[in-house]
Subunit: 360 residues, 2 copies
């Protein structure tokens, strides 16, 4: 297969981990005889510095033509004092909205080798394997009006949803649950919000189409508690944009594997943007210390969700598992009796694994 | 001093724990020669059953005349299928709004004797002692419009704040930080919400009046992570209504002492509503198993915040500590080598402690 991938290295450790992602894609192309072509564009702080805007036109145009996009990370203290419309995050929000990437998929998995790094007791977190499906292009993030009023004496933001926007994310979540453990938790605040009551109704409507999936409704405050007390009780969670932002970040620290977590932001036709959850980590940027595994696992998500390459995705995931079992790790992981290596060496170990069984 | 207290026992275990709260107030009155008068009113499911509405007029009228209000708990499966305006929670939201109880104070403390019940590793949670100051009468909870549109094809809720509403809660938080460890974390989503940008500006304006308090701003997603990874790094957190709902419930499960956590909802003149965090626990209602300590600690908050009785409040808190040290506990606490007792016996142990040093 031929696929065209846009790389958006971005800021901080973004360029380092993007390099690792590209190497893994090339290794997969080699092993499975695919043709992956690449082009790089600027976003975030890097784009502000070079072109005076966090989301340049040529970046958007390139992304619109891509089969998939890989994003390293955006943001950093250097750009923190800029006014709202000129901040690196605007690049990220802009690309999500302009490409219609409405479904954010955030898997969280407890890696046995990393449980010691979890803030939770091992017996609480062991076996956790959940997926948060977050609506990404609606709600409080984009609703209008959002403005000061009465001469600055008051302010409003708007939580707005189209029925269609809720339907498609709920469907996506049911589809995801169907190929996992068939349990869906829909998270809302139906005792307070009208939008949540509509959300709950739509989940009830859709569930007749997925009789194999068990559904429960949970209030967002209860979900925030249960993620900590019993994370392994969840399979798939689906929720609106702002709740999803909070819960997916809360969930990301439960297993001690933040440096390992991938994410995908996709739309119906499979086009998606893939990025590690960890962010730009300006404190270690340029030092070849950044853990590339979250980016590499994001590549696995790209192969699966955008390209339908399931075997290839499993090859990448298996390679990561093998490298972890060999106890190679970057400084963030602190595997006992492990072999501490740089980010680029860790990436090359994964690449070697992928190519090792290459029989071509 | 003379004080008039309205009791709202409510649903589930509400009546049991309200009884304990009243006994403790009477013990304090006896020991310190105060006169506390009481009247009881209905709220929530109990009010729906008796009077067809979750917040009867006579309840509101009585609360408006009270010096302080104690609420047991509202809600339960029995009323879960009722339409929105007829649900028990409406009683709670109504009373907060009608009495202008804008500041919700949610302390979370790690009790050494209960750390074993925490989902977090002891070294992560030990020493945690934080206070969440949640804005309680604005934001998404009450903003208008909140409605279906386009023939049910879309929906909006509104996050609205008056400048004055943000100012007063921020001041309350600074005042709270000043009498604690002098550190304030203001939580917002300023990279997305206009209301959060205004919130952040107001915190910056107010901080010049509190030069002794150190302030930091934190995004809500980052705060949701840090509460789990490093709860002891927080002193006072202040945030808007919905973020506060989520974060305060998340925080409530960190220390393993959910059954111990009190809350206060107060306004400028000191009038306040006090309630245990744990809710109505319908599964154990009427069995005399409910832990009364959260209610008793809520009484301590009432003595301090509404009546300015600091010594009395400390007497209650010390009595709870002594009872815990004697290893008396209800079934939720599971203290090793402890003495399992009923809720009413545990309450009487606290009452005995309070009266023990009574030299009158
Ligand atoms: C940078 C920020 C605007 C963004 C969001 O809130 O969506 C981030 O937190 C995320 O979750 O990807
Ligand atoms: C019952 C519900 C409306 C309420 C809220 O969201 O404020 C509760 O969760 C709370 O925190 O007191």
């Amino acid at each position: 297969m031929k696929k065209h991938i846009v790389l958006l290295p971005g800021d901080g450790i973004g360029p380092e981990v993007t390099k690792a992602a590209k190497q893994v894609l090339e290794a997969i192309a080699g092993r499975y005889q695919h043709t992956f072509t690449f082009e790089s564009h600027e976003i975030g702080g890097a784009a502000i510095d070079q072109q005076g805007t966090p989301l340049p036109e040529d970046t958007i145009e390139a992304c619109k033509k891509a089969d998939a996009i890989f994003l390293g990370a955006v943001g950093g203290p250097k750009w923190d004092q800029l006014p709202g419309h000129m901040r690196p995050e605007k690049g990220l929000l802009g690309i999500r909205k302009q490409l219609g990437l409405f479904a954010n998929l955030r898997p969280v998995q407890a890696f046995q080798q990393l449980l010691h790094a979890s803030p939770l007791k091992p017996e609480v977190v062991a076996g956790s394997d959940l997926l948060i499906v977050r609506e990404l292009t609606g709600g409080l993030y984009f609703g209008e009006p959002r403005e000061r009023r009465d001469n600055g004496q008051s302010v409003v933001d708007t939580l707005a949803y189209q029925r269609m926007e809720i339907e498609r994310i709920v469907e996506k979540a049911f589809e995801s649950a169907r190929v996992r453990r068939k349990h869906l938790t829909s998270v809302d605040k139906a005792n307070v919000l009208e939008s949540s009551r509509m959300w709950r109704e739509i989940v009830e409507e859709k569930k007749v189409d997925y009789p194999d999936v068990e559904v429960e409704h949970m209030l967002v405050d209860a979900a925030a508690m249960k993620l900590v007390t019993n994370p392994s009780s969840f399979d798939v969670l689906v929720t609106e944009n702002m709740f999803g932002d909070i819960l997916s970040d809360e969930a990301s620290v439960l297993t001690g594997s933040l440096g390992m977590l991938p994410s995908a932001s996709v739309r119906e036709d499979g086009v998606g943007l893939y990025e590690p959850v960890h962010g730009s980590a300006p404190d270690i940027a340029g030092e070849n210390k950044a853990n590339p595994l979250a980016s590499i696992l994001s590549v696995a998500m790209m192969l699966k969700h955008s390209f339908g390459m399931h075997e290839e995705a499993e090859t990448v995931e298996a390679a990561v598992q093998q490298v972890l079992q060999s106890r190679y790790h970057t400084q963030d992981l602190k595997i006992s009796n492990g072999v501490l290596v740089s980010g680029s060496v860790l990436a090359s170990k994964v690449v070697d694994q992928i190519s090792a069984n290459d029989t071509t």
